[in-house]
């Protein structure tokens, strides 16, 4: 049976007259210009001049640095540039207002705030009393900083998994987004995602996905909590905490407290709960905690085409597809709620 928007999706199913009319109206604007080899060559021909210029500038900069004879660890160029917005910032034990945080270097904002350029892919704003260390800086592969304590607001525009933040208790992998992390020295705190999505490490076999409009607690020496939407009910939040503490009847309470907007919490929970042990609550057929979670999830956000509850129980890839759909819906909901970044 076809869905109402099948035509919009892939032109299958009955034609939607509005979509068809817009297609016909706009089709003449479609791109059909061939590759302009001349434009490519022009661009390439500029390259030698640009390189020569860059070499001269680099040589001049090197000379200036040499003459200054101040080769502190924060004057290098193989790290992330930073600027303090007030007061002074300690970089690798030096008091400086600006410079480059080298790999292995530690930036402590003290009473000031600072802005850290994440290579050329984003910005991290660091609040006062924040301490970060640059662990890796491999262009287009992996850039990683360690947040020891404090608050960081990161905004990254790069392909997924290029930028990651580790904390004393977890790892946060950027999937292209904007988020805020705040932790104390023990790694206890929270993460809130403003746009896009992040992955939070739990164990080697499970990853939590926190999309825009959700937050998760970061816990000392433990995996992060299951993300909840920012406007989640106190009942759901309390049930999530109880479940994480292992309270015996927490799961049914959590499932009962979850509403339509909480599908993302259940989608992550489904990945974390045991899929092969019996549940603590009554169940007419042999069923697992995951079975219960998926049955409740299906009433809040039905599985996408090609995925069934049974399929998701037996095939992790199908479960992941279901979660991915819910993540996408949550991102969309957040955009529509007006939380999307403006151009």
């Amino acid at each position: 049976m076809s869905k109402p928007d099948d035509y919009l999706w892939d032109r299958s199913g009955p034609a939607d007259p509005d979509v068809q009319r817009l297609e016909q109206l706009l089709a003449p604007l479609a791109h059909d210009r061939p590759l302009d080899e001349l434009a490519l060559r022009r661009k390439r021909n500029r390259a030698p001049w640009i390189i020569s210029g860059a070499v001269l500038i680099a040589a001049a900069a090197g000379l200036v640095l040499y003459l200054r004879a101040s080769h502190g660890p924060c004057d290098g160029d193989a790290g992330f540039a930073f600027t303090a917005k007030g007061g002074t910032v300690g970089c690798a034990n030096e008091q400086v207002a600006r410079g480059v945080l080298p790999i292995g270097g530690v930036l402590d904002t003290g009473t000031a705030t600072a802005e850290l350029a994440i290579a050329d892919i984003g910005i991290a704003e660091l609040a006062a009393n924040t301490r970060v260390r640059l662990d890796r800086n491999e262009a287009n592969q992996r850039q990683q900083i360690h947040l020891e304590r404090g608050r960081m607001h990161a905004k990254v525009n790069a392909p997924p998994r290029i930028f990651a933040v580790t904390t004393p208790s977890t790892g946060v992998t950027d999937l292209g987004c904007e988020y805020t992390i705040e932790i104390d020295a023990k790694g206890k705190g929270w993460i809130e995602v403003q746009s896009g999505k992040v992955e939070l490490e739990t164990t080697a076999h499970a990853v939590i996905v926190a999309p825009a409009g959700t937050s998760a607690r970061l816990r000392e020496n433990r995996a992060p909590s299951v993300p909840v939407v920012i406007g989640a009910s106190p009942a759901l939040r309390s049930a999530v905490t109880d479940w994480e503490q292992g309270t015996s009847d927490a799961l049914p309470k959590l499932l009962a407290a979850a509403g339509i907007g909480d599908a993302i919490t259940l989608a992550n929970l489904a990945v974390l709960v045991p899929g092969d042990t019996s549940t603590q609550i009554s169940c007419s057929a042999p069923c697992t905690d995951r079975d219960l979670v998926l049955n409740r999830l299906a009433t809040l956000s039905p599985p996408p085409e090609g995925v069934t509850i049974h399929g998701a129980l037996t095939d992790p890839a199908l479960l992941e597809r279901w979660r991915e759909t819910i993540v996408a819906e949550q991102i969309v909901r957040n955009i529509e709620d007006g939380a999307a970044p403006k151009k």
Partner: protein
């Protein structure tokens, strides 16, 4: 040399060469492979640019985007990340172009005769007023004629996200254009 030749020939005999192989070949300097990347992605780049830039300027910017991509391709470590990487270049280039320009309505010189050109301009304005996530996806679907699965493949978005973006975006577009949706009709009926 022979390996390179065999690789290049294989890339064009095979009906659909996997994207990473084409990207790797292009990165090695294979211009046919780069032309293949252009063939596959020029509409997606144009759609992304058109979401931000006037129609008459968009085609030139598409060429710029590919010139920049050719220059920076050796820096792209993960070939599979090419779609997202290329479209990020397109967005940045379009935003750079728009910066400093005065906001303006769509130019009348779209390749369409009046009075339909006014209608086209009105639809483009409505599309550009949609949230970012919807405008690009809908322009790729309605202007560039790509299907949802093609959009997912060429933008790096999941099919689920694209489908949701199309559905929600179309709903908002109908509202902006004052078109009653079938859903609304059904609810009213």
């Amino acid at each position: 040399m022979l390996t390179q030749l065999v690789f290049t020939i294989a890339a064009y005999i095979a009906p659909v060469q996997a994207l990473p192989a084409v990207v790797i070949a292009a990165r090695r300097g294979d211009r046919l492979a780069f032309a293949e990347l252009y063939r596959r992605f020029n509409r997606a780049v144009h759609g992304v640019v058109l979401a931000r830039v006037r129609y008459v300027e968009a085609a030139d910017i598409v060429q710029d985007v590919f010139a920049i991509a050719l220059e920076r391709l050796p820096q792209l470590a993960e070939a599979a990340a090419f779609p997202g990487w290329l479209l990020a270049i397109a967005r940045n280039r379009a935003v750079d172009h728009v910066r400093g320009q005065k906001p303006t309505d769509e130019l009348p010189d779209v390749p369409i005769e009046a009075p339909r050109s006014a209608e086209v301009a009105q639809v483009l304005v409505a599309l550009r007023a949609l949230p970012d996530a919807y405008q690009e996806t809908l322009i790729l679907r309605l202007v560039e004629g790509m299907t949802g699965p093609e959009i997912a493949e060429q933008t790096g978005l999941s099919p689920g996200s694209v489908r949701v973006n199309l559905h929600r975006g179309m709903k908002l577009l109908r509202e902006k254009l004052g078109i009653a949706s079938e859903e609304a009709d059904e609810q009213a009926g």
